[in-house]
């Protein structure tokens, strides 16, 4: 579990005067499922480490927000989705969510290096990646915008009656944006099928949650809109997956939106250019030592008789995949200069 907020909650949660979701149970994973979680999280970890390295070499430019430390959130939640009908949208820290969806690391990395083979043909960059094929709707650079847009995706699910649910991720920083509450209001008013996922990694850039939030228990932020919230250990992939099951059950039953506050932690700075002076090295190290989501699963696997030697080939395979993605991203050609003018509009007028 990540570092608990410094402030002890002043009041008990409101007395339930209406139906509330049941307390989620940790997901009971088979050994195969646990191994898959391990692989998926490790792929994100290694991919992001490589991206950080390529950034340092000048191959990736601009902003680059790494997902290291938060892997259990995307992997746990998205493993519960129905890939054929559910949709996902997030902010600018989006590499992990795409990898968790099984999108080819090569085209993600090639987007980071701004190459024609990138998933947005090199014109989006780290923060603006999309895969409509996977119903992954971005990749949005404006803090909080994805919450209203996500409500729009949920609106479509309801309008079309396709049975889909939207997972809209945003951070503890975005949780203070005004439009988030406009979206909450309409989502509950119209009973939109959406799970609002607050990835509370404790810092909005350099500002800790309790320096920015009058109510720092973010799962309660929906109360005045009658949206129930659940606080989840986002460093635990089984807790994340369990919470996703509860949330999906609630939403698919037509009970409207739900909030999951995922308590998590990012090990790196806000972006590559953030020296992270607002927290101590000890704080980060303590989380790494005690709460690392990947180490956690590794222990669970060991308990099931999976040895270090069993995991070695998996780790080597992931390194190979990431290295291939990096090589591809480095060597793929830049976009043709003519691409400058394409896709501004769909039609010709």
């Amino acid at each position: 579990m990540a570092k608990a907020p410094a402030r002890i909650p002043a009041a008990e949660p409101p007395i339930p005067n209406r139906e509330r979701p049941s307390e989620p149970k940790p997901f009971e994973a088979t050994k195969e499922q646990l191994l898959q979680f391990y692989k998926d999280m490790l792929l994100i970890r290694r991919f992001e480490e490589k991206a950080g390295q390529l950034y340092g070499l000048g191959l990736i430019g601009g902003f680059c927000h790494l997902y290291i430390g938060q892997e259990a959130v995307a992997v746990g939640l998205q493993s519960a989705l129905d890939g054929d009908k559910d949709s996902v949208i997030t902010g600018y820290r989006d590499h992990g969510h795409m990898l968790a969806y099984g999108i080819d690391p090569k085209v993600i990395m090639a987007e980071l290096t701004g190459r024609a083979a990138g998933i947005s043909r090199g014109k989006g960059g780290s923060m603006h990646m999309f895969s409509t094929e996977h119903k992954f709707y971005g990749g949005h650079g404006i803090v909080g915008a994805q919450v209203s847009l996500g409500a729009g995706l949920a609106f479509k699910h309801k309008y079309a009656g396709d049975g889909g649910v939207t997972l809209a991720y945003f951070g503890d920083g975005a949780a203070n944006q005004g439009q988030v509450y406009e979206a909450f209001n309409m989502a509950e008013l119209w009973k939109l099928p959406i799970i609002f996922v607050i990835e509370n990694n404790q810092y909005a850039m350099g500002t800790s949650v309790n320096r920015a939030s009058s109510e720092d228990q973010l799962y309660r932020r929906g109360e005045s809109f009658r949206i129930p919230g659940i606080q989840v250990d986002g460093m635990d992939v089984l807790a994340s997956r369990g919470a996703a099951e509860t949330a999906l059950e609630w939403v698919r039953a037509g009970k409207g939106p739900i909030i999951l506050e995922m308590k998590t932690y990012r090990y790196r700075g806000h972006s590559m250019s953030d020296p992270a002076k607002y927290r101590s090295r000890d704080e980060v190290q303590a989380v790494r030592d005690k709460s690392d989501p990947i180490e956690h699963v590794k222990k669970l696997l060991e308990a099931q008789g999976v040895t270090e030697a069993d995991l070695k080939p998996i780790e080597q395979d992931i390194r190979r995949v990431v290295n291939e993605a990096a090589d591809f991203a480095e060597n793929a050609p830049e976009p043709n200069p003519q691409e400058l003018y394409t896709d501004v509009l769909v039609e010709s007028y």
Partner: protein
Amino acid sequence: MPIEIKMPALSPTMEEGTLAKWLVKEGDTVKSGDIMAEIETDKATMEFEAVDEGTVAQILVAEGTDNVKVGTVIMQLAGEGEDASAAPASAPAAADKEDTPAPNAQADATKDDTVEDSAHPAQEKVETGARQLFEAASHEAEVENPEVPEGTEMVKLTVREALRDAMAEEMRADERVFVMGEEVAQYQGAYKVTQGLLDEFGEKRVIDTPITEYGFAGIGTGAAMSGLRPIVEFMTFNFAMQAIDHIINSAAKTNYMSGGQMRCPIVFRGPNGAASRVGAQHSQNYGPWYASVPGLIVIAPYDAQDAKGLLKAAIRSEDPVVFLENELMYGRSFEVPKLDDFVLPIGKARIMRPGKDVTIVSYSIGVGVSLEAADKLAAEGIDAEVIDLRTLRPLDRKTVLKSLSKTNRIVVVEEGWPTCSIASEVAAFVMEEGFDDLDAPVLRVTNEDVPLPYAANLEKLALVTADKVVAAVKQVTYR
């Protein structure tokens, strides 16, 4: 002395209305707050309340009378202690609906006898700049629209009806199209543009939103990203400032940022520009703002047929469209072709009046001002060609440059600020691409470079007028 109750103006541009129903009869006593009558305008039915106390002495305009001019005395009220029957009996026969115009208080010879109750100031037309715009907006195109097949039957429609018909037709044709916004459903539209849509299409497709522009613009944009075709109505574009992030950052850039993978076919529509005396925060032309953004289509029609044909095109477009209407235009009637499916091309300007001496380029309500100026210029022997840009992005440079090659002079008329305006843009491309055709500098005739003031006289000074256009044309034609 009886109090004269006059036909009220229920909106700044209302000139006449129907006295639908009297709720009091002669001999009744009324006190302030009592509803005396129902009055209908093209927008709504309004209740007309008493302000004064007294006895209804005489009803001068019968219920059911249409076209009662604002300011007409419709009833006489005897004050306390007055004899209700002592009211003058010489009033015109109220039941005679043919008897128009109804007498105007100002025209009555009995002016000296009229008590000017402070609660009832004379409701004469206040001469404002917006009213001048509104008057100018009565001008119709002086040439046939080449996009309308010859011999097509034409019907008179208001701009308001044309917009509504465009939405209704597209909603009938495409299940993905829906309308959302403040008061669009149950209230039938703050400006009645969505009138009747809820009845026909139901609450699934005609959706009232809370007053949360940022949020519902985002929801509409997200819905468009996943394949629906939203029409997002802003009560006015002034409120879209709350939502401009989604229009620009989310809607306009999506297709490009995704390498053509994720589209955003959405229409943001609503009234734009100055209305009548609503002050600075409710009177702004956002045409230049949105027209500066790659990834957006920006349309600002003038008359009803363009409103209809271009809104249908906007709804069908795969690209995000900002569709700028004008509140002063909503009630204006124009000829609209009676066709099953009248769709106009986006990005094509329209010649509204052919001429050879000067080209006047404008859009939206500025076209009316330009046509009025052209009339005045014609009287002085100057033959002006008037071009309605219709689409502000992409701009139809070709039509403007072709006209320039004939007239060699351009004046751009814009109901908006001068700095970084559409007029500036026209001046720039005309200089870049038509320099050799210019016999005079391009002049911009725009609103003054100030927030729009409330006071009637100041508002009038601030807004663009036909006279200002005439002066500019004389300057470029060296007259």
